[in-house]
């Protein structure tokens, strides 16, 4: 008897039983606060937050400013001035890079004035011919990583140019080239500081946790309020979004440096700065590079989403074409974004792994052969491009610039395919849609909405208690309780249902594929490569093929989410199984079990904690993607966040909504990590 009470499964079943009793007992009509929390003081939170932020911007810390051009003294606030100058600086850099690539006058204006420009027509930065950029990419790829990388980098640029996406692609590139270094720099510095300063780290850790579980959209909202809209606002929200993983990985990497390496650095006579930059950071470079890599991925993902607040580039065009259901165009744009992501990813990795040769006593021209070659190509391609423009002023100059309309396009091809798919599969897709919606999705959604809040809170708190004792119970109850107190509990339940559905599907698919592939080393390698590549795709891109095949519906959102979330499930399963110690596998084989038994009784149990972390990722990925799905049209938290983006007083609401999403993620994250750590400890594999 005693054994039963203390057995986790029994406790869990008891928990479920009480949960169902509560569900039955509390009716929507008479349940009152047990059914849903009634309007309470928490509902004022968004407005209070709103007013507070407004106060900060408009009335806090007044300063006098002087406008030279208008010769006027104006009243402003410190925060306004600060955000204004920050925006200015960032915009300047974006424009500088953009105009180096595309030509323009804004950079010159910064140092002179618009009058100067109109008086001196020569005062503009000329655009680089795309041929020059492509050759540059070839060279850089070759310099950093040899032939393969060279072909990848150069080929991607040619693709972009030839398909007439030069302008938006270079806009995106300039945006990314500002946001990435800025995020990497900030993340590295803050990570280093947190490593050195305990207090700072203690303050930073919870902020990082929340920041990493906030959906993309919620970063846009405060940024719009403080910085307005435009490229700079997009860059700033991107930087805020992309910095936390960089900080986290920097701290992680630095902490992992072995104490003896640190001591070796000290004994070599490093001062603190040398120790950090010559010893610690390079030794931690593996994790820091993963950080850089994440930053690049986050920046590209955000580059699409930031187009909601006026960032120009591929993302914006993609949004427009998706809105118009121009699937072919969207696909081409998506490919460009993915290519840029992959190329930047690979170039940055190759750059970090590059080593110098000290004893190569080379003559000047060999030592600088890449710079010289680039300079030469720059001159030659520009000369050709300008010469053609000069001699054939009226004809389109394909070697200089290929515009949207001149470029090749496969639009029609794709559109035809899409049409064909839609017409030929209409019946089956439609019946699949109807089946899924009426017999699975709607009932599931209704079941979620039929849970009284008291029952739900009891359930999650109980699970928290079973997993991690009182501490976990309190943490989980606080996260979920916060959401329950806001006016958006129902929306949160819808988000939860969508996440549940896609997670379950993704885990089933991912684990199956993972287990199958892990049986064979070759398949393991292939599937890991596929996962790696798919992971570099900005999340938004996943919507394209789904809309193409399934049209616009709740179901397509769920399919996109599932596809996206299957990646971590697969990857962690493969990794977990691959990392089962060889000796254990051999021991199992020797004791005469067949491969299936070995999988079931040895490998899976040992890999399970790691797979569980994959499931955690799957849930977080689903959560993010569900929110992005708001773009197609859902009725959950994400939809409200999108709406608050366009409402003038939506800021407070948007932030609280973002927190709600983050708290769902954090609660799950906490539970799974606690469980997985315990399990690993029990199995002795930490």
């Amino acid at each position: 008897m005693h054994y039963f009470i203390h057995h986790k499964w029994v406790q869990f079943i008891a928990l479920l039983a009480i949960f169902f009793v509560l569900v039955m007992a509390i009716s929507p009509v008479s349940g009152g606060n047990l059914w849903r929390f009634q309007e309470n003081i928490f509902w004022l939170l968004p407005d209070t937050l709103n007013n507070f932020l407004k106060y900060l911007i408009n009335d806090f810390w007044l300063v006098e400013t002087y406008d030279i051009e208008l010769d006027l003294t104006e009243e402003s606030t410190m925060i306004k001035e600060f955000t204004r100058s920050l925006s200015g600086v960032i915009l300047f850099f974006i424009n500088l890079i953009r105009e180096l690539l595309l030509g323009g006058v804004k950079t010159v204006v910064t140092f002179t004035s618009w009058d100067f420009i109109s008086e001196h027509p020569w005062a503009r930065i000329p655009a680089l011919p795309w041929t020059a950029v492509a050759s540059g990419a070839f060279l850089m790829g070759h310099f950093l990583g040899g032939r393969k990388l060279s072909i990848l980098a150069g080929g991607s640029i040619i693709y972009i140019a030839v398909f007439g996406q030069w302008t938006p692609a270079m806009q995106t590139l300039s945006f990314v080239l500002v946001a990435v270094p800025l995020s990497v720099f900030l993340g590295l510095m803050m990570g280093v500081f947190a490593y050195k300063n305990k207090t700072f780290k203690i303050i930073l850790t919870p902020l990082l946790n929340v920041a990493q579980s906030m959906p993309h959209f919620s970063y846009l909202i405060p940024v719009v309020v403080f910085f307005g809209i435009g490229d700079h606002a997009g860059a700033i929200s991107t930087v805020i979004f992309a910095t936390p993983p960089m900080i986290r990985l920097t701290i992680l990497g630095l902490k992992k440096v072995s104490p003896e390496v640190l001591e070796a650095g000290l004994m070599s006579g490093c001062n603190p700065r040398q120790l950090m930059f010559k010893v610690l950071i390079p030794t931690a470079r593996h994790d820091i590079l993963i950080g850089v890599n994440q930053v690049i991925m986050q920046c590209l993902a955000m580059a699409v989403i930031a187009s909601f607040i006026g960032t120009k580039g591929l993302g914006y065009d993609l949004l427009v074409s998706l809105n118009r259901l121009n699937i072919g165009e969207a696909l081409e744009l998506g490919i460009s974004i993915v290519l840029i992501a992959i190329v930047l990813d690979k170039l940055s990795l190759a750059w970090a792994n590059k080593q110098a040769d000290y004893f190569a006593d080379l003559p000047f021209h060999l030592h600088h052969k890449y710079s010289l070659a680039f300079f030469g190509i720059l001159v030659v391609t520009s000369a050709i491009a300008y010469a053609i423009s000069l001699f054939f002023p009226d004809k389109p100059n394909y070697l200089y610039f290929i515009s949207d309309t001149q470029g090749l396009t496969t639009k029609n091809f794709w559109d035809t395919i899409v049409d064909w798919i839609i017409t030929s599969t209409y019946q089956s897709v439609q019946s699949f849609n109807v089946f899924m919606i009426t017999s699975i999705l709607v009932p599931m959604k209704e079941a979620y909405l039929a849970m009284p809040v008291a029952a739900t809170l009891f359930l999650v708190t109980g699970i928290g208690y079973l997993v991690g004792g009182l501490r976990s119970a309190i943490i989980v109850a606080a996260f979920i309780g916060f959401i329950a107190l806001t006016p958006w509990w129902d929306r949160a339940l819808i988000t939860a249902y969508m996440v549940t559905f896609s997670t379950v599907t993704a885990v089933i698919i991912g684990c199956t594929v993972g287990v199958l592939c892990s049986r064979n080393t070759r398949a393991t390698r292939v599937i890991l490569l596929v996962c790696d590549t798919l992971q570099t795709f900005p999340s938004f891109v996943y919507l394209i093929p789904v809309i193409m095949l399934f049209g616009v519906s709740d179901l397509s959102v769920l399919i996109a989410v599932t596809v996206y979330a299957t990646i971590p499930a697969t990857r962690y399963t493969v990794e977990g199984l691959r990392n089962v110690p060889q000796s254990l596998q051999e021991a199992a084989s020797m004791s005469g079990v067949n491969p299936t038994q070995r999988l079931l009784h040895v490998e899976l149990p040992l890999a399970f904690p790691h797979i569980m972390l994959g499931i955690n990722q799957t849930i977080i990925f689903s959560l993010f993607m569900v929110i992005i799905g708001a773009f197609i049209g859902t009725d959950d938290l994400g939809q409200l966040i999108m709406q608050s983006l366009s409402r003038s007083n939506g800021m407070g609401q948007g932030i609280i909504l973002g927190l709600c999403v983050a708290f769902i993620g954090l609660a799950v994250d906490h539970l799974i990590h606690t469980w997985s750590d315990q399990r690993k400890q029990a199995l002795g594999i930490i």
Binding site: S258, E260, V261, E263, A264, G265, L266, M267, S268, G269, C270, N271, Q274, K278, V279, P282, T283, R285, Q355, D357, Y358, F359
Partner: protein, 356 residues
């Protein structure tokens, strides 16, 4: 027995106490270290009242089981951790009183350290690793690389200079560690279990290599090991630690012959004495009337190396000092006793080394 020459390293009552409560307890007792109350407060005593000198060109081996405080002592002397109480002097200068800049200067010019796990920088090539101490000093890339290349040759890694640590075997990696620690030509050389991570055969090879280097370089060395045989092979003097306390600090011969405590005797019991003792420690007094054999041995020769020759002689063998004067004799009876007899009834010249 004080020498007029200043010791290179001098430790006076060095204490290192770990633990959150250490400071509180110390404050109560006014900085006086009271081990009882510290242990009660849950502190760990890493080093307990260590005092000793190390002289120029001397190799002091710090021996003890793991957790006995060897690394802690070494790190106090290299000031990688802050000493709780006591004084440490490096070339007569107060190490613990130095500010950061002075400390960095001492490390850049006088100290080199080798680590158990090699502690190489994974992102740098062999050459770059070795050049690190030079580069942080501000020496130009060209000069430091040239000097690093000399070090590569010194540790016999020629041809591997552009390899990365992960491409090398353990022994080779530790050669890099050794080269790095010697790159700035330090006068003090600290080695923390440098060969413990290596396979026995490689370890032996590295010990030989180490002795070869030391015979050329004559550094002042603190060498940490948990391997008593290694200590005996290398040391001029051995300090044996237990629970932070230096139980005995003496020459290998004296430790083997006169273990100060029961604890140390446990180590020495299984030692092959003939491999440790030199002839002078067991020789008999020279009687002019003795009929001596034709062969002679040097008083510093290890018994093991001459045993066969002495055993094959009927007559006693003369033991010579550096000036080729006869200082004593050895016969096969003594040798057999040393090799196979009980410890306690040896005809031992206890203070042989100090007499010499």
């Amino acid at each position: 027995m004080s020498t007029p020459i200043q010791p290179v390293i001098k430790c006076e009552s060095v204490y290192k106490i770990f633990g959150e409560n250490a400071e509180k307890v110390l404050k109560k007792t006014d900085g006086e270290v009271d081990t009882e109350s510290l242990l009660e407060a849950g502190c760990v005593i890493g080093v307990n009242n260590a005092s000793f000198d190390v002289h120029k060109g001397e190799m002091l081996v710090i021996m003890g089981l793991s957790g006995s405080g060897k690394s802690t002592l070494l790190r106090c002397i290299s000031r990688l951790i802050e000493t709780t109480a006591g004084n440490i002097f490096i070339d007569g200068e107060d190490l613990l009183g130095m500010n950061e800049k002075e400390l960095i200067n001492v490390r850049r010019n006088k100290m080199g350290m080798v680590f158990q796990s090699f502690a190489l920088l994974p992102h740098k090539t062999v050459l770059e690793n070795i050049a690190l101490p030079l580069q942080v000093k501000g020496i130009s890339t060209k000069d430091s690389m040239a000097r690093a290349m000399d070090m590569v040759n010194l540790v016999e890694l020629t041809g591997y200079e552009n390899a990365f640590p992960r491409q090398l075997s353990g022994g080779q990696q530790q050669r890099v560690g050794i080269a790095r620690s010697l790159a700035v030509e330090p006068e003090m050389w600290f080695l923390d279990e440098p060969f413990s991570a290596l396979d026995p055969l490689i370890r032996k090879e590295m010990q030989d290599e180490f002795l070869r280097l030391q015979s050329v370089l004559h550094k002042t060395i603190l060498f940490v090991t948990h391997d008593f045989d290694e200590a005996l092979r290398l040391a001029d003097r051995i300090a044996i630690m237990k629970d932070g306390v230096i139980e005995q600090i003496d020459t290998p011969a004296n430790i083997v012959l006169n273990p100060a405590t029961e604890y140390i005797a446990k180590f020495t019991r299984s030692v092959r004495r003939e491999r440790v003792l030199s002839c002078q420690t067991i020789m008999e007094e020279y009687d002019v009337n003795t009929d001596l054999s034709d062969i002679t041995v040097s008083k510093n020769a290890i018994i093991d190396t001459v045993a066969e020759r002495v055993l094959s002689e009927q007559k006693p063998v003369a033991v010579l000092n550096e000036q080729d004067e006869i200082v004593g004799t050895l016969n096969s009876k003594i040798i057999i006793q040393v090799m196979f007899g009980e410890t306690n009834n040896l005809p031992i010249n206890n203070n042989a080394e100090s007499q010499a």
